[in-house]
Point group: C2
Chain length 301, copies 2
């Protein structure tokens, strides 16, 4: 056991500390960036649902229309909070991790400097060793090289000390940063989930309050009263009235029938276009790797 | 205005009700399935983070190790709740929407039946019209065709009545199902977010309780005490002691230096392999469209 070996082991611990931090912080950065992107993807999927709800709302009766719009608004609000979550994760967690690379670079430079200084010490040692073996009588040269060795050893000592301080500060900062990063992550998540609970609780109440019977009455009235106030019983009457509608003058009745048939064919053509489009494909701008937003956020909350 | 036109308008309202429901429920199904898949993707991203935290934990001091493990466990717990959320969304929201197709098919069949019956009525009407124009004297044939028309009209009336009832039931069921689907969606989300708040609150406390100073002391001791209890001051001493370590017999010192250099080169080779792998690439089984799980859930909670 000697100081050279000791220093070498020490520097290897320092190196592995930095390398380990670099490796794990790099992986954290990638994984948290991926987590943030996935969150943004979920936000986009929900945003598309909001648009669809609003589209559907416009085709429904007044009660369901109001309910769907309120519900869409609540769902949009959650996505606004999710957007805030995405932004905070980027600013408070992912970006600091990205900047970590610079800190690691600096510590690596310190280690490199130490190795250079130590290699010089080893070179001087080798020189001295050789000299002692080949010319043990040359006291003057040996003395000169011994002075160089002492100087090199002093350099190594100072550099080791500096390195020790650097690595100590690095480790301290690393632990502090790790703790802060995880705390920030949890805080961002906590705020989002708490807000989601709040908004969805109100959305649940909105749905409970929806009076479907009112819309059904509306629908029935619409179905039966297409042309003014026709009595619904007329439709179930199997005996045609004496003034049968088909006793109209020939041509006009026939043309009415023909035009009906045309409309019927046209409406059957329409229905062929109604396959729901795959939302996964979506507009090109909605790539899953992007965390940018496609829907404008709600005004204020 | 006549009964034929009235019925035609009525059936068009019914058709558009069914077509509209088919279109919007189909889109809902796709969008909610996408939302569920995105949720599953987020769960997978977080699961990878859990594994990384556990991997990192094993390289840290006792305090941070325990903290990282506890934190990873909490994060995993949230993903278990997210997994339950994914399963519930599939069972309670997406699957019922998928089954909706069958209900729509049945109502479409009723409408088709009505159209067939009504076309027969129209055909009889046309026949009667033609007969009246061409052979107005043929009272007997006219009377026969009039009977057929009456019968066809009766069929149409009955079918219209049935159709009315079917569409009424369809609309009622649609509104009820829509309300239930949205309520189920909100309930599933509420449960998940509430659980997440609970788990993350505990995770926050764990992080607060972590005593970094203890780990730092450990790290310092490790750095300084690699080979037994070396005095740290030795390293900062710039004057070599009289018993200089390099005054060891020639060969053994030289071979020690050589072996050190070899180890150094080897450790430099190691560090080249430490680029963090891209977690987005991941194992093939973790495709983003799959909602299947790669990590086994926590035992019980």
């Amino acid at each position: 056991m000697n100081t050279v070996l000791y220093r070498d082991s020490q520097v290897r611990i320092m190196e592995s500390t930095v390398t380990n931090a670099e490796k794990h912080f790099g992986q954290f950065c990638s994984l948290l960036a991926a987590y943030t992107r996935k969150t943004a993807g979920l936000r986009d999927a929900a945003d598309r649902l909001v648009l669809q709800l609003l589209d559907f709302a416009s085709t429904e009766g007044p009660e369901m229309r109001a309910t769907l719009r309120d519900f869409a608004e609540d769902l949009a609000k959650v996505q606004d909070y999710r957007q805030a979550q995405v932004e905070r994760l980027e600013v408070k967690v992912v970006n600091p991790l990205k900047l970590y690379g610079a800190q690691i670079k600096q510590t690596r430079a310190e280690i490199k400097k130490f190795k250079r200084v130590r290699n010089n010490e080893i070179k001087q040692l080798e020189k001295l060793e050789k000299l002692r073996q080949k010319s043990p009588w040359d006291r003057q040269t040996i003395s000169q090289v011994e002075t160089s060795v002492q100087k090199a050893s002093g350099d190594t000592g100072r550099t080791t000390h500096q390195l020790e301080e650097t690595v100590d500060a690095f480790q301290k900062q690393k632990l502090k940063d790790l703790q802060k990063m995880l705390s920030d992550f949890v805080t961002v998540e906590l705020v989002f989930h708490a807000k989601a609970v709040e908004v969805y609780s109100s959305a649940f109440q909105t749905l409970e309050d929806c009076d479907l019977e009112r819309d059904l009455e509306d629908f029935r009235a619409k179905m039966r009263g297409v042309y003014g106030r026709y009595d619904a019983r007329l439709l179930t009457d199997t005996t045609p009235s004496t003034a049968v509608p088909w006793s109209l003058p020939g041509q006009s009745a026939q043309s009415a029938i023909r035009s009906q048939r045309k409309e019927e064919e046209a409406s059957e053509d329409d229905s062929a276009e109604e396959d729901p489009e795959d939302p996964e494909e979506g507009p090109r701008g909605w790539g899953r790797r992007s965390t940018s937003r496609t829907r404008a956020p709600q005004s204020e909350h």
